[in-house]
Subunit: 319 residues, 2 copies
């Protein structure tokens, strides 16, 4: 078995974890920094762990592609895989911890006006106090109760919010951090009381523009929105209108319909919009990187034994 690991972030520790597992299953493993480094003698690899977009599209010998991201929308177009039986797994479950920290951070930055205080400090200005809001007694809705939403809910719980409502397709999630869990079809019923809406959804047909102009209008004045899933989930123009008009108190977007966000996008100048360049989840946090590798190694054992992969993508659902 020939494995290609394509990842510039991995250090000796992560490489050793992979080598040890590869040895166990008698596989040879090659570490590459970029897909461009795939030489002719590596094109017949059986397994790729990395963003092997081109090799998946061209190699009929590829039997398993594991991407190190949670999002998989970029691999769900037709013709993404030359081998139609190629297994496809992702790393959903590795990013919850780091993205949850991002959500807490940007929520508090907005609610506590830290963005304004910080911006003023860059100009050497000692600002006067401004009104602040709190996660304490806040009505929070988490749209998308997967690993990311739930890691956030667990942390948010410690801030003593009034209620944390989870919203997902099935309306079911066992995590005790949620005070209740509703189906997506019930979303409209809770938006009018939602003070902080956290969105961590995959990009699918069903989630496209799920936060529409009509739904934004259902939210109360002064509400906050955080999106760390995919930019496709929000009607960006409607969001910008609601922020510029002062209806919404703030929004923090880490993902956008077009990334990088174009220079001429109105979002750069939208009032109370906190823009981060898709950095909520990445591999620079040691824990995230280790967890990512652990998950791949777990499935490498499954793969070698002919068992079903644990982190297989459901291509029909799109995540």
């Amino acid at each position: 078995m020939k494995i290609l690991v394509i990842n510039a972030a991995f250090k000796e520790k992560q490489k050793d974890m992979i080598k040890t597992t590869a040895d166990k299953v008698g596989a040879e493993v090659h570490f590459l920094v970029s897909e461009k480094d795939i030489t002719d003698d590596l094109k017949d690899a059986d397994v790729v762990y990395g963003f092997g977009v081109n090799i998946a599209k061209t190699s009929k010998n590829l039997k398993w592609l594991c991407v190190p991201s949670a999002g998989v929308d970029f691999m769900l177009k037709p013709d993404s895989f030359a081998n139609e039986d190629c297994l496809f797994s992702n790393s959903s479950g590795a990013y919850g911890v780091t993205i949850a920290e991002h959500i807490i951070a940007v929520s508090l930055m907005m609610m506590r006006n830290l963005t304004d205080f910080y911006a003023a400090s860059l100009d050497g200005i000692w600002s006067t106090p401004k009104p602040q809001k709190s996660l304490k007694d806040c009505n929070i809705t988490v749209l998308g109760t997967g690993d990311i939403g739930t890691c956030f809910a667990r942390r948010a719980k410690a801030f003593e919010p009034k209620v944390i409502t989870g919203v997902c397709r099935s309306g079911k999630c066992d995590d005790p951090s949620y005070d209740r869990v509703l189906k997506v079809s019930e979303l409209d019923s809770i938006l009018p009381t939602t003070e902080l809406l956290v969105m961590s959804l995959p990009s699918t047909v069903e989630t496209t523009n799920i936060l529409s102009r009509e739904r934004i209008a259902l939210m109360p004045d002064g509400a906050y929105i955080v999106n760390v899933g995919r930019g496709s989930a929000i009607d960006e123009d409607a969001l910008a209108d609601s922020l510029d008009s002062g209806k919404l108190a703030g929004a923090a977007l880490d993902v956008f319909k077009t990334e990088p966000l174009p220079e001429n996008s109105r979002l750069w100048k939208t009032k109370n919009l906190l823009i981060t360049p898709h950095v909520a989840g990445n591999l620079t946090v040691e824990y995230t990187m280790n967890r990512n590798v652990e998950m791949f190694c777990e499935d490498l054992l499954n793969f070698a034994e002919g068992k079903t992969l644990k982190y297989l993508v459901d291509r029909k659902k799109g995540y």
Copy 2:
């Protein structure tokens, strides 16, 4: 009994809470926006709830001053009270929730490089990813285990840090959020492993420059410091040196030796220093304001019945 309530932030809800309690004890209550509004007929007040610095200094009739802040250093100079038997209480216990949110927010802003991402976004720049650190597996030391430090520790616990060490005079604090609690005399022994140092100390002789140049030098490279107590606790020049040299990865100061921070202070230009203008704890958060008033009302009942006040300041300790 004549009570003056001096506070510009209070709304009808808070005034009603106070009126109801004043009625119970047969007291008359006057609401003022500023100490300057004290007319001649109010100068014989028995009780002041507010920053009654001048009336305390001049009125021999004042029997109880309750300040709405946690810090009391500004009232501990000799001659602060014309009536040397005047009772003196504070509102320590009201600010833990809001200041804890500030500490979490600024810690994550620094550790996740959100300051840089945000600053770039103000110029319309989509930054490239930067290394990020996490509260997960972090070694946290909380210097000052009062209401503020402990509210922070409770929230920090949900982020799954490696260890939370509390440090206080007595070395004793029962809150289960701390993995261990040490005496201030043991501080030097844990600084070398402290990755995030959170300081929430009152200003006293003992806490002045407690974070000295020598102690900063004991901290590991890449450590972070947050101070929300009083600026007197840190050798500001030594801190700036450690930040500018890149030894410390970041510091977030909400309090300073001189406030407002002077225009020509080197701190404005110090590398990786996040400056906020003493806004970690204020009365704009509804919960904080209500809790503040509840505590005063609780002690108003005690005062009327001749009982010991619950929130009495220990003038010798200085908090």
